[in-house]
């Protein structure tokens, strides 16, 4: 009986650490809201300001930032950023959604290529929700470390800080940047 159950379980299509596409992630975040893809082109001064906001470990060095602005009936719902970063050797991609108040509305692991035991569980990611960019948004502040996955905890925390800093500089609801429908 046990063997039969195990064989049945092995035969099931696995949804283990399923990879999301951007479209799937945006659908999760915004549902039926209108989503517009935009790109910000930041100069060195903008990047310096973002680095100052994010802190020394956040590593902001890219001047071209694409992001996704969601609105519902003309009212802003939120902005989704996709942040790719290295965890140990391999890459993780997070979708970080910022609400109109500039606080974290969602952190979703879109892609994680390291062994799954190092991936941040949903419960751990939930502690970022509703947090603004401040000193408490750190592993020395209000963010609890993750047992057995120190590098992931560092990477996720820095990604959220980086995103909130860029969000503040870009100011996405001031739509001067290049845009295109996704």
């Amino acid at each position: 009986m046990l063997a039969a159950s195990l064989i049945a379980a092995l035969a099931l299509p696995a949804d283990v650490n399923a990879q999301l596409t951007q479209d799937q992630a945006l659908q999760l975040a915004f549902g039926s809201a209108d989503v517009e893809r935009r790109t910000a082109f930041l100069d060195e001064s903008d990047l310096e300001d973002a680095r100052a906001l994010a802190g020394p470990r956040a590593g902001i060095d890219r001047g071209v930032v694409s992001y996704y602005v969601a609105s519902d009936g003309g009212s802003p719902v939120g902005v989704a950023y996709f942040d790719a970063h290295r965890v140990r050797t391999l890459q993780e991609v997070l979708m970080i959604v910022v609400d109109p108040r500039g606080r974290v509305a969602r952190v979703e692991t879109v892609s994680f290529r390291e062994p799954p035991e190092y991936e941040a569980p949903e419960g751990w990611l939930a502690q970022f929700l509703d947090r603004p960019l401040d000193d408490e948004l750190s592993l020395r502040g209000a963010i609890a470390p993750m047992t057995g996955a120190t590098l992931t905890a560092n990477a996720v925390t820095e990604a959220v800080r980086r995103t909130l800093a860029l969000h503040e500089i870009i100011d996405p609801f001031d739509a001067r940047q290049e845009s295109s429908n996704r």
């Binding site: 650490n17 990879q19 062994p115 290049e178």
Partner: protein, 425 residues
């Protein structure tokens, strides 16, 4: 020509001029608009390509069914394969006092050791099957395989694991990168009773969710013929041509539902004599090890508590087969525990550095009970108080220094200074 005629002529000329020029101007404007639209299209294409290069082709991709499966079921096939490399290491300097606690000359020699350098290598075949390993160079001249296993993930919550496995016991055995535990030296309880780093060949199940994690392994058992009065450490077979007449079962359950907190228990049981005969009868030598542990790390605090015990059966027979007599005998019951606290005093500063003064109090007795006819060596009833500090310039690098006050029931212990440098990446 009167003024009316003049205006008429000028108007006619202007109309003719306008008629002559307007099509080309409009053409030019139209051409400019087309050029701008084309530039916008190209810019959009470039930024999308940048995004695809940044995030990876498996993320920036329209949903399509693959291999006849719907988009959700086909996600697993999008995973890019890749080798993952990481590592950690530590060096340790130990400076012993010149006298034991009873005032007699100490015999311990100061030591500076390249304790361990480790390379992690992992490979993901797909999102369900992966390989993970830890290759260790100890003391600069010994090479070990600390773990090397294949995981098969049945679903999000359960997986099967096989290979050389770390016994899922205690707090340090599975998680022993220097920057994530306080103390230049690992706790003695997790050295003599839980013989860290304890790894054996085996297979098992693992799983968990946001609130709990668990592991259950069947592993080749310890070798009871290598136990001693100072504990179980010598019984590790380390995956190398391991005797496999006896197998043990190890398991753990941890509650992780509160962020930063890990509370759990682990246990192991298995016979260890591997069919050895004594007096015409097969000896079992069953060992049972257990531990209760709690770990809290948040808001600058680093707190730990652990208690571990062990019992060994057929000790009289094992002692005689090994040739141990008197106070050299293996303990039939062992007990150890420690409490540890540290706090990041730079937490409120603008510095990135962390500085954690810490204290650990520990008691270990590997001969809490001994077999009939044998005696306990009071030197194995140990108390250690460690006072020190850990400085982390970045979270992945740590310099630790501590002073350890050792005492034992025989009053032969020697205090020591330790300084260690550790890292992980």
């Amino acid at each position: 020509m009167n003024s009316f005629q003049s205006i008429a002529v000028l108007s006619t000329i202007l109309l003719l001029f306008t008629a002559a020029l307007t099509p080309s101007r409009l053409d030019a404007q139209a051409a400019d608009s087309a050029r701008v639209a084309e530039l916008e299209r190209r810019l959009d294409a470039i930024t999308r390509e940048l995004e695809r290069m940044d995030l990876g082709g498996d993320v920036v991709r329209a949903d399509t069914a693959m291999l006849g499966l719907g988009p959700a079921a086909s996600k697993v096939y999008r995973v890019e394969r890749g080798v993952s490399i990481g590592g950690y290491g530590e060096g340790l300097y130990e400076d012993y006092a010149s006298e034991r606690e009873d005032g007699s000359p100490a015999t311990s020699t100061d030591q500076f050791d390249a304790l361990r350098v480790i390379i992690y290598v992992g490979y993901k075949f797909n999102d369900r099957i992966l390989f993970n390993s830890e290759i260790e160079v100890e003391h600069a001249d010994e090479i070990f395989l600390e773990f090397a296993y294949i995981d098969y993930l049945i679903n999000d919550d359960v997986g099967v694991r096989g290979g050389i496995l770390l016994a899922p016991m205690g707090l340090v055995n599975e998680l022993h990168e220097p920057p994530i535990f306080l103390g230049s030296e690992r706790p003695l309880t997790e050295n003599r009773i839980i013989p860290t780093t304890w790894r054996e060949n085996g297979v098992g199940l693992f799983g968990g969710n946001d609130a709990v994690s668990w592991r259950v392994y069947v592993m080749n058992s310890l070798n009871g013929m290598s136990f001693s009065d100072s504990g179980l450490r010598g019984g590790r077979q380390k995956g190398s041509r391991a005797l496999a007449e006896d197998f043990g079962v190890a398991g753990r359950l941890d509650y992780t539902g509160v962020l930063g907190l890990n509370v759990g228990a682990s246990a192991y049981t298995g016979e260890t004599a591997h069919n050895a005969m004594f007096g015409g009868e097969e000896v079992g030598g069953r060992v049972t090890i257990w531990d209760l542990h709690a770990d809290y790390r948040a808001r600058g605090w680093d707190l730990r508590a652990l208690v571990a015990g062990a019992s060994v059966d057929d000790v009289a027979e094992l002692n005689q087969m090994i040739g141990l007599t008197g106070a050299e005998g293996i303990g039939t019951a062992m007990l150890g525990w420690y409490l540890q606290a540290g706090y990041d005093v730079l937490r409120g500063s603008t510095l990135e550095d962390q500085l954690l003064p810490y204290v650990r109090f520990e008691k270990v007795n590997t001969q809490r009970e001994v077999a009939t006819g044998f005696a306990a060596d009071p030197a194995n009833d140990v108390t250690i108080t460690s006072l020190g500090a850990a400085w982390k310039p970045v979270p992945e690098v740590v310099l630790k220094a501590d002073y350890q006050l050792w005492s034992n029931a025989a009053e032969t212990a020697t205090n020591q200074w330790n300084v260690s440098l550790g890292w992980l990446f």
